[in-house]
Amino acid sequence: MSVWPSPAVPRPLQQLFDRVPLLTYDANVLPARSQSATSSRLPTLYVFSTDSDARLGAPSYNPGCLKWQTFLKLARVEFQIVPATNHASPTGALPFLLPARPSPSASASASASPAPAPVSSARLQKYALEHGQHKPAEQTPTLRLDAYQALLDVPIRNAWLQALYLEPRHAALLDRLYVAPASSSRWVQATLRHQLRRAAEAEILKTSSSAGGSASATPILVDESAMYAGARDALDALADLLAESETDWFFGAPSPSLFDASVFAYTHLMRRLLDGGADGEGEDLKIPARLGALVRAAGTGELERHQSRLLEMLWPGESLSGR
């Protein structure tokens, strides 16, 4: 819209430019909504959460976000969490972290410095190790870990997506967590719900072995029972792996590592959100989507104890039946 050729400003003109403006006042005060967004000097982790949960720093209800929230806490990084949506993220996915503004002194001019570049989840591990006061246990870089990570990435994630997004019995929960916070309008909500479901379905079909993703001509349908069976096997395998470890944590680490955080992110949320209550017994797959029951039944309860241990360690006092 406006052009000024940057090279070669004549000297007298430059002198004139240097002289103006004749008067400079203090900066304008930011609007009410941004006062809280800019007031803190802590790094901010943007996650799926509710206002009240975010104030308390309670666990996020999204596994991807909870994983990194847990890991940052394990590394004892000081940070605050802010509820957000995927639209806020530079990569289109939460979580991401916005480091603190560099200007330390006057709070009034804090808004004058440019916003720091966000740290996406792919670089959060490095960030946590650099800024944390405690180094979480290094994962022994075994190739076996890659294989077990695949359990979380494929069968467990797919079962989570299926149970929360596609299972009709959890429709109210999905609305409460992801749809209602976005807008109060029924029209917007219905559109978002549809988009979420289609996206979840596409994600499942992309990776799932038992749902037609591999080579079916028209991968359209998700086979739920096979998916829950896959999740049960995967959770059992994780429980066995944990039983194999001499310490309380995966792969014999002296303290929890990133892998522990990854497992916890799912087991905690499955128990908190997708467990039909304490009445459940064992691995009753007849009741669909009771992933919490699968967690409790895995192995001889290793995953359940692991989850409680980590919860007690990072969020003492937080109970499963919080909400």
């Binding site: 079916s216 359209i220 086979d223 069976a229 395998a237």
Partner: protein
């Protein structure tokens, strides 16, 4: 007799699809050949809409997908069933998940996304195993699905039509030539501008390096495992699955054999495993000696009617129509979702007779519905052609008169314009 419905043979292997291959291998390893039959088909012909699919007449159930099939066989073993490996081991579960998560995209990249390999090897293979006219609808859908599967690897540039010409001119040795003409969805960020022939060499090699890197990330993990039989940590099922994916990496003779080259160069043990296992399962190397059923001649009474859908002209026509409907933007997917759900529900709940009727019924439904759609489209076309424009609502002359007697002889436009009496202004 058990019926295993699978994609047909290709590349000298009994099936073109990894999970089908794994399921065939598992059955040959654990069950006597007299107790099962293989049915060559495609997903649109089975009620579960997914291959491999196992129909067990003794329980009258369908199991679809490799893991459900193996667990079904364990739960309802045929008389000769014998699987000596441990029923479950954590490592095996993990490696099976790893194969699905990481080996499958690699195979997709090599056989489906890469234009040269697709055109020269994979598409002809599909044409050979599908009855006419299904090769027009089903392979493109498979390729699109595979493209989505490998999307996260960011190598969609392998899918390019420019590549063939580059290869002819002796420049395109590798798998990449810049181009945006791919028809698998390419994220804008990954698209590269076309570049001159001279510039094309360097990124080609860069892609080669990246491809090698991707392959090694996967194969390193797999090569750590002892896949030999008798190893207590690997189950027979996991071994079959590993064989299936590795075989599809190693065996097909493709024009851009980067995956095979990498395997041969750096992972001799995996190659050895594939070869040994292949000859062990299929004594002729391919699937010729396997108990294939040739569709119509299948003996088993209860299931033959189900498979008939894949045989007759009506059945193929319905599957073709289904593929066409699926391509209609907007409604195609929803229609298909509804149809597949219906079929699957029928399979799950019902006894034999009703199920057959239903599956027959939905075939007829497909034909009827597609014919109806075509007719409707033709009608609309004819209507638009005939009408030629918008309807009109008016009249050449509107007139109003004073509501009084004696003034009725009006509408005499002629009198007005003749100029005889009323003067024209």
């Amino acid at each position: 007799m058990l019926q295993l419905h699978v994609w047909g043979p290709a590349f000298g292997l009994p099936s073109i699809d990894a999970e089908c291959l794994a399921a065939i291998a598992y059955l040959t390893q654990t069950t006597s050949r007299a107790e099962f039959r293989l049915v060559q088909t495609s997903p649109s012909a089975v009620p579960t809409h997914h291959l491999p699919a196992l129909h067990d007449p003794s329980t009258d159930t369908w199991a679809s997908g490799f893991a459900p099939i193996t667990s079904h066989l364990r739960a309802h073993p045929p008389p000769s069933f014998h699987d000596a490996s441990p029923p479950r081991h954590a490592d095996s579960t993990a490696y099976a998940a790893f194969l699905t998560a990481h080996a499958a995209p690699l195979v997709a990249l090599s056989l489906y996304v890469s234009s040269a390999n697709w055109a020269a090897t994979t598409r002809p293979a599909y044409s050979a195993i599908l009855p006419f006219p299904l090769p027009w609808t089903e392979p493109p859908a498979v390729r699109a699905a595979m493209g989505r599967r490998a999307e996260h690897l960011g190598m969609s540039s392998l899918d390019t039509d420019a590549e063939a010409s580059a290869a002819e001119s002796g420049q395109g040795r590798g798998d990449i030539a810049g181009g945006a003409g791919g028809w698998v969805h390419i994220p804008a960020a990954l698209r590269r501008a076309p570049r001159s022939v001279k510039d094309a060499l360097a990124p080609e090699q860069a892609a080669r390096i990246r491809l090698d890197g991707l392959a090694k990330d996967v194969l390193n993990v797999l090569s750590e495992v002892d896949w030999e039989a008798g190893e207590p940590r690997t189950t027979a099922a996991a071994r079959c699955l590993a064989f299936a994916y590795l075989a599809l990496m190693l065996v097909p003779d493709v024009p851009r054999p980067w995956l095979r080259d990498t395997m041969r160069a750096a992972y001799p043990r995996l190659c050895e495993f594939v070869e040994t296992f292949r000859w062990e399962c299929f004594p002729d190397g391919g699937g010729e000696v396997l108990p294939w059923s040739d569709g119509k001649a299948s003996g088993s009474s209860s299931s033959s009617s189900v498979t008939r859908g894949s045989g007759g002209f009506l059945g193929v026509g319905a599957r073709f129509a289904q593929g066409l409907i699926f391509d209609i933007p907007g409604i195609g997917e929803e229609w298909h979702r509804w149809l597949a759900r219906r079929k699957r529900r029928a399979v799950r709940q019902s006894g034999d007779e009703r199920q057959i009727q239903l599956s027959k019924g939905s075939d007829a439904l497909v034909v009827t519905a597609s014919a109806g759609l075509a007719l409707l489209a033709a009608n609309i076309g004819v209507f638009l052609y005939r009408a030629g424009g918008m309807p009109s609502f008016g009249a050449p002359l509107h007139s109003w008169h004073m509501p009084m007697a004696g003034l009725s002889g009006l509408g005499a436009a002629g009198a007005l314009f003749s100029g005889a009496l009323g003067r024209r202004y």
